[in-house]
């Protein structure tokens, strides 16, 4: 089994590399569309299927390799921590049913109850990553079955957008998971938990050099903070909230927004807001100049200056002092 895991990580790592390249450092350069990221996500999935097949083959090959198998089952094995946001009416009830039916599933999941999956704010989805979570699940009622009619559709929009945001920041979007579980689907709930736990196991510990993202803990947290900050931004929130309507409903002129166009727009907003959020977060730590910011973020100073000016106008930064010839800014938050 240990052997299989290496195969797994190596293969998937290659794919994830593309995601990593889109990391914050390169954020200003390329403006990859979400569409492209989606295609990549599909590739990752396809790759994972392939990996699973390889696993099966290996399992047959390594039937006698007991030592290796034992290793994975014991201490050394990575046990991810997963937080689940479950809606009160369907998925939480489904989880309860798994309990009353005594269906065993991995102990990795910790559940937080909300009234509706639509209550889960984009920022809240990221909150557990700041603690120690390696994965986050949002479970709601099946489409058309939502206790509050359309809350689950909103949850879907948010998860899609937050996944795009994570991918942009070089964090595996597979760490965030959305699915539907009805109150009658105790068995399905148990299966989904097991499945997702496995998926996260393959991704590796969040913020660990050996994970698929290959980010240090510090860098992982920094990026999640950036993502979380973006989730508080008006532009991002507005696009998330309007996504469904923009894509599915016609405007007064009988026009619908094309998915590609929306994704371009979203990608643009994500890129801009990620950069601003990163600047804000740096300025919150203490006075800092554009030049220093540019160095830390690996960005052209001009670009940083542009956004710093914007943030200053928006009343989020203020001039602190001038050191040498460089003005230094601090956050007003």
């Amino acid at each position: 089994m240990a052997e299989q895991v290496t195969v797994d990580v190596n293969q998937a790592e290659g794919v994830l590399e593309t995601e990593r390249v889109q990391g914050l450092e390169q954020a200003s350069g390329t403006c990859n569309t979400i569409e492209a990221q989606r295609v990549e996500a599909e590739q990752v999935e396809a790759e994972q299927v392939k990996v699973e097949r390889v696993e099966v083959k290996h399992a047959v090959d390594a039937e006698n390799a007991f030592d290796a198998e034992e290793d994975l089952g014991k201490e050394g094995a990575f046990e991810p921590v997963i937080v689940g946001f479950l809606c009160n009416w369907c998925s939480y009830a489904g989880a309860d049913l798994a309990g009353t039916s005594r269906l065993s599933y991995p102990t990795n999941l910790r559940v937080i109850r909300v009234m509706c999956s639509g209550r889960v704010d984009p920022g809240l989805m990221l909150e557990p990553f700041l603690s120690a979570a390696d994965g986050v699940m949002v479970l709601g009622c099946h489409p058309a079955d939502c206790h509050y009619m359309t809350g689950n559709y909103q949850a879907e929009q948010r998860v899609l957008c937050v996944k795009a945001l994570l991918a942009h920041l070089g964090i595996a979007s597979g760490r965030l998971y959305l699915d539907w579980v009805s109150a009658a689907e105790g068995a399905r709930f148990a299966e989904l938990v097991a499945e997702f736990t496995n998926q996260v196991k393959k991704l590796g510990p969040a913020g660990c050099g050996e994970s698929q993202e290959g980010l240090s803990r510090e860098e992982f947290i920094r990026r999640v903070r950036v993502a979380k900050r973006v989730c508080e931004k008006e532009k991002f929130r507005w696009l998330v909230g309007r996504r469904k309507a923009l894509l599915e409903e016609e405007n007064v002129y009988g026009e619908k927004l094309q998915a590609g166009k929306f994704n371009d727009l979203m990608s643009f907003v994500i890129t801009e807001e990620c950069l601003r959020a990163a600047i804000e977060l740096l300025a919150e730590e203490g006075p800092i100049s554009c030049k220093e910011i540019a160095e830390v973020l690996g960005m052209p100073a001009g670009k940083v200056l542009e956004h710093t000016a914007y943030l200053k106008r928006a009343g989020l930064l203020e001039l602190h002092d001038v050191r040498g010839q460089s003005p230094r800014y601090v956050a007003l938050r």
Binding site: M115, G118, E234
Partner: protein, 680 residues
Amino acid sequence: MQQGIESSARIGVYVCHCGLNIAGVVDVEAVRESARSLEGVVVVRDNRYTCSEVGQKSIADDIRELMLNRVVIASCSPRLHEKTFRTLLEKSGLNPHLLEMANIREHCSWVHYDDPEAATEKAKHLVRSAVARARLLQPLSRAKGRVIPKVMVVGGGVAGISAALYLGGMGIKTYLVEREPSIGGHMAMLDKTFPTLDCSLCILSPKMVEVAECENIEILSLSEIEKVEGQVGDFRIQVRRKPRYVNEEKCVGCGDCAAKCPVKVEDEFNRNMGTRKAIYIPFPQAIPPAYVIDEKNCRYFTQGKCKVCEKVCERGAIEYDQTSYTETIEVGAIIVATGFQPYDARGLPQYGYGRFANVITSLDFERLICADGPTYGKLKRPGDGKVPKRVAFIQCVGSRNASSGDRGYESCPEMGPRAEAAEPKAYCSRVCCMITAKQAFMVLEKYPDAEVYVYYIDMRTAGKGFEEFYRRGRSEGIVFLRGKPGEIEETDDGCLRVVSEDMDSGCILDLTFDMVVLAQGLVPPHGLVELAQKMNLSRSEDGFLMEGHPKLRPAETGIDGIYLAGCVQFPKDIPDSVAQAGAAAAAAAVTCSKDTIEIDPLGPVIDAELCIGCKLCEMLCPYGAIRVELTDKGPKAKSIEVACKGCGVCGASCSTKAITMKHYTDSQLTAQAKAILEVV
């Protein structure tokens, strides 16, 4: 009210053993000790059963003596006992919303029985998370909603009729909604009932008349639910009223119209074995006792001229100009009693239903043997009208065979995709064994020299007098064979060859019968999925509606104020349906007996400083419960409390994060998310 409730939290943590349900897996003492050092925790106790009198008393005492202002209970699912403990807090002088529960049974001990160590760790985390949230809980005042002391019963079968009669008898105004032209449901189609062999309609029709005569009951026939809004105590239901084209008040049911009507069509009440006219009454005892025009077949509606019925109706009851319209009805409670539909036996083509004329289903058999049926009670086989001398019954058609059912169907591509009602089900439909026992008996009663065989898997005769009835059938010569036939073949003379293995002797039996009756199972009625969505009801895996609790709330649903009666919850026989109807009626009456109902105050709080009036919340709210209004500070969102259900979509979407959801605030959920992962 306690003093200083907002200042500093004084939390009591109670960890429940639940007998061995929790303590058998989770180390309760360790969980208790881990909670002791948490910020704000004043007292930690473990109880054998926290929900017991003793357990509850210890909490009440602590609230009083230790001045607790928050309570955390680590036990079962809040879906089970949140109400119990909220009531306890209220009685002890604490706001009921200052309670938080950690689900360490359904989400922990019961699912991690194979790993006690990890389960204990998880339980500790869940408790920490609950304490973190409890610290930030705020007292909330509950708004009072009005109660409309009226009930709507959806479905006019025996369950709906019984529920309506109970409610009408209590003086509660009840609307009985039925989509067919007459109430009565499937029971009206049956000839006899088991095990007493009462004539079905003889016992049902007095009840139907009672419904018609009860001044508190209003029958809405030819009506369907279109939309349901509101909450317990105050539902607004839009009912689609379809036209009858006959004035119910004026029609006396003389039948002159039908006698002269020139159009003959297949009679669905007689399972398409007889004919009726385009203006018809489904059966003589129908309630309302009025004729109805079938517009799909009526010559006037299809060809534009005829109007014979109008000419012959002396009372001028024919009204061709009636149209479909929507009526809004306000009630305080709803009982769903929409019953079942029989399994479509064409889904198992190996038995030849729909292809072989003399293979019928149990419901067909009821009509064939009924004095009012197409043959006036003479049992004749449908193919050629011959008297069947050898009759076989096959059990569990569509029931108990989810996995084996597909073989036959795939071999018959000409049948097209299998309809929902033709999907074989995994569950036992409960009533078919006794229906067959009764029907086998009826054959012998009509033709004492007939040979009757029953192919079965198990005979399930649990019920008062059922086993005795089955034994009597055996002793009177009905042959019961264990083993399900694989296939039926039709012979040249329309007889049916049935080959099976007799499981008791191991012999292969090759028998030929004049007629085969398939004991079709009961499946969810068509339209139930849509109805469940309109009412936000959950369905069980079997497709029927899910009850509030499988043991203790069998007539309730997950939605307050909506109750269940009869087969819509699961297949059941007539006495069970009537009993459940009584339970549902009692539960609905309890709701209607209140003057007001407390509504959970989970709505949004809007920070007018942050709100920019962008209208995103207004656009996303499924209930129109938040609106942007112009104030002197510009456009600002405003919550409409009565309409709000507290889902939180507005709060999670607000572009400037100006909305906080009560009881599920960002800070509470964030604190929970942090604590749930904290390494202890």
